[in-house]
């Protein structure tokens, strides 16, 4: 299964672990397709203790991956959640066994549209089955089975990672001791679907996309993917954050250029975001992962009543939102809290004051760390997890 890898996948797999699953029993996807065998790439930090009670699953958001706290194999940048995971941090590998799994459909080593369809020997590209958040979580659960990890002390994630946390708690309540969904929602809103659609259309409108078969044609829809990233990136920030960071400041010039170069710093910044993104992300994967988020509707999957997703849940929940996040605004977290209350589940909810928009969950937000640290301390005490392993 390791032939035909992209350079990025090769670099990723050289720096993390992977498992080939679904050989005997394929993964039944929500769309009805049986997928197997499939590869799951994952990274771990720390060691599993003797009674296997210290496993923490970090679920990554759309454009991040399994490299939570080590240098990225493609970009060389530091891990995307090093503020949270690492020695002396809230999630310290000295105490917890931390796992992060590259999600199904992604492009950092786990099977996705880049892989070959075993039945035809041809690259899947757009013939790859559409996967859902629940499918991603099933693949993660299958990996834990493979690793012999019965349950998780905590499942934590922001944005799409938060959706996976909710799905974990709903699908495998007995395997989730505590759950921390951050800056997310129980369904993707019309506005969020709309923004994703703009991104997908930008990719598909790129003549180099070739109906998804760009690798066969040795082209790359880099412009389309860059525009998709630029649009999405705006939704991750807040009006205040953009204003504070850039205002109307000009880029390397003293006066307007009366043309269409990047006159403004904000333009230059977005162009940079777009052009660097294409080096580490696959355009088809972007289509698939955004689709998975769009399809997420936890209440819809439980008879239209969100509380039904959490009936008799033994899990301890801690939800967090940020005041300036307009992509996953606080009221969407509150909706989840109401449902958890209706199910009489154990829930904490904190709204963090921040002007940094949706991205705040990836940044240095002391209030978020304080909350998490307190919540995990409380959960560890109930679980009987020792201070140090």
């Amino acid at each position: 299964m390791l032939q035909d890898l992209t350079d990025a996948e090769r670099a990723a797999l050289a720096q993390c672990r992977h498992a080939v699953l679904g050989v005997d029993r394929p993964l039944r996807l929500d769309c009805g397709v049986d997928l197997g065998p499939y590869r799951v790439a994952y990274q771990t930090y720390g060691t599993l203790n003797a009674d296997k009670s210290n496993a923490v699953l970090v679920c990554h958001p759309l454009t991040c991956d399994q490299f939570v706290a080590d240098r990225h194999p493609v970009t060389g940048k530091e891990g995307w959640w090093e503020s949270l995971v690492g020695a002396g941090k809230v999630l310290d590998p000295a105490r917890y066994f931390i796992i992060c799994v590259n999600v199904l459909g992604h492009c950092m080593g786990t099977t996705g549209p880049l892989a070959r369809d075993p039945s035809t020997g041809q690259p899947w590209n757009l013939r790859f089955p559409v996967v859902t958040i629940a499918d991603m979580v099933r693949a993660q659960a299958a990996l834990l089975d493979d690793l012999g990890i019965p349950d998780l002390f905590c499942v934590i994630g922001g944005s799409m990672g938060g959706m996976q946390v909710l799905e974990w708690a709903a699908s495998y309540p007995r395997r989730v001791f505590s759950a921390v969904p951050i800056a997310c929602a129980a369904h993707h809103s019309a506005q969020n679907i709309a923004f994703h659609e703009v991104g997908r259309q930008a990719i598909m409108a790129d003549p180099e996309w070739k109906g998804g078969d760009y690798r066969l044609h040795q082209t790359a829809p880099a412009r389309g993917l860059a525009v998709a990233r630029m649009t999405a990136h705006i939704t991750y920030l807040s009006e205040q954050a953009l204003q504070r960071k850039f205002g109307r400041a000009l880029q390397n010039r003293n006066a307007l250029g009366f043309g269409f170069d990047a006159d403004f710093q904000v333009e230059s910044y977005l162009r940079h975001q777009g052009s660097t993104f294409v080096d580490r992300f696959d355009a088809n994967s972007y289509l698939y992962i955004t689709r998975a988020m769009d399809y997420f509707d936890l209440a819809g999957a439980h008879g239209g009543v969100l509380a039904n997703a959490f009936r008799r849940s033994p899990t301890r929940f801690c939800l967090m939102s940020f005041t300036s996040d307009w992509l996953f605004p606080t009221h969407e977290s509150r909706e989840i809290v109401h449902a958890l209350n209706a199910a009489a589940a154990n829930v904490s909810f904190v709204e963090v004051e921040s002007d940094k928009g949706h991205d705040a969950f990836l940044l240095d937000e002391p209030e978020m760390f304080r909350t998490l640290s307190g919540f995990l301390k409380g959960a560890a005490a109930v679980r009987g997890l020792k201070e140090t392993t």
Partner: protein, 200 residues
């Protein structure tokens, strides 16, 4: 053993160990922490102020931001053994409905409130001619959150109206010491009261 406010201690003493409790208006979580630490209670909190919520969660307590007037509705019947409302009833918009919800969500309700018929209150209004300010009612008329003040007798009357059984009633004097007097006098010398209620 850490000490908590006298009225909170009285409430804590009413809660049986190893039960489930919801503290509505839990403030900084002092009562919750006591119930968790010393009575192994599965204790949850609801607090209006976000700063209070964040402080509680950061200390490991299960607390959400919420409003007694609107958010008790979310919970199913009999979700808790006790629903506690300390010094907050008088600040709710619909105290009667809040009590009804508390006794729906909880098998028992524990309520504490300041007594507006306390002798100091009476004197200040009758002879001072001004809205009373006392230790348990420290606000000015224009900045008080207390919009539905009542006396101990008023509260008893409401319980009668609602068909709610009073299982225990403790009246505290201005030194926060329990006093034992017939109801008529308790309504004069009690500065605050703690009631444990049950659906009849």
């Amino acid at each position: 053993m850490k000490s908590i406010r006298v009225d909170l201690q009285l409430i804590a003493d009413m809660v049986a160990p190893d039960t489930r409790a919801l503290d509505v208006g839990c403030g900084d979580g002092a009562l919750l922490a006591y119930l968790v630490d010393f009575k192994r209670v599965d204790a949850r909190g609801m607090e209006l102020s976000q700063a209070g919520v964040n402080a509680c969660v950061a200390s490991g307590l299960s607390v959400i931001q919420g409003d007694a007037d609107t958010d008790l509705r979310d919970y199913p019947d009999d979700a808790f053994d006790y629903v506690i409302l300390g010094q907050t009833l008088q600040a709710t918009r619909e105290p009667r409905e809040v009590l009804r919800q508390m006794l729906r969500v909880g098998k028992r309700a524990i309520v504490s409130f300041p007594n507006f018929a306390h002798w100091q209150v009476r004197l200040r209004l009758v002879f001072g001619g001004r809205m009373p300010q006392t230790t348990s009612l420290p606000y000015k008329w224009y900045d008080t959150p207390n919009i539905h003040l009542c006396s101990i007798d008023d509260f008893r009357a409401l319980c009668r109206d609602m068909g709610v059984r009073i299982e225990r009633a403790i009246v505290l004097n201005s030194k926060s010491r329990p006093i034992h007097m017939p109801p008529l006098l308790a309504n004069v010398f009690g500065e605050q009261a703690v009631f444990m209620l049950k659906r009849d």
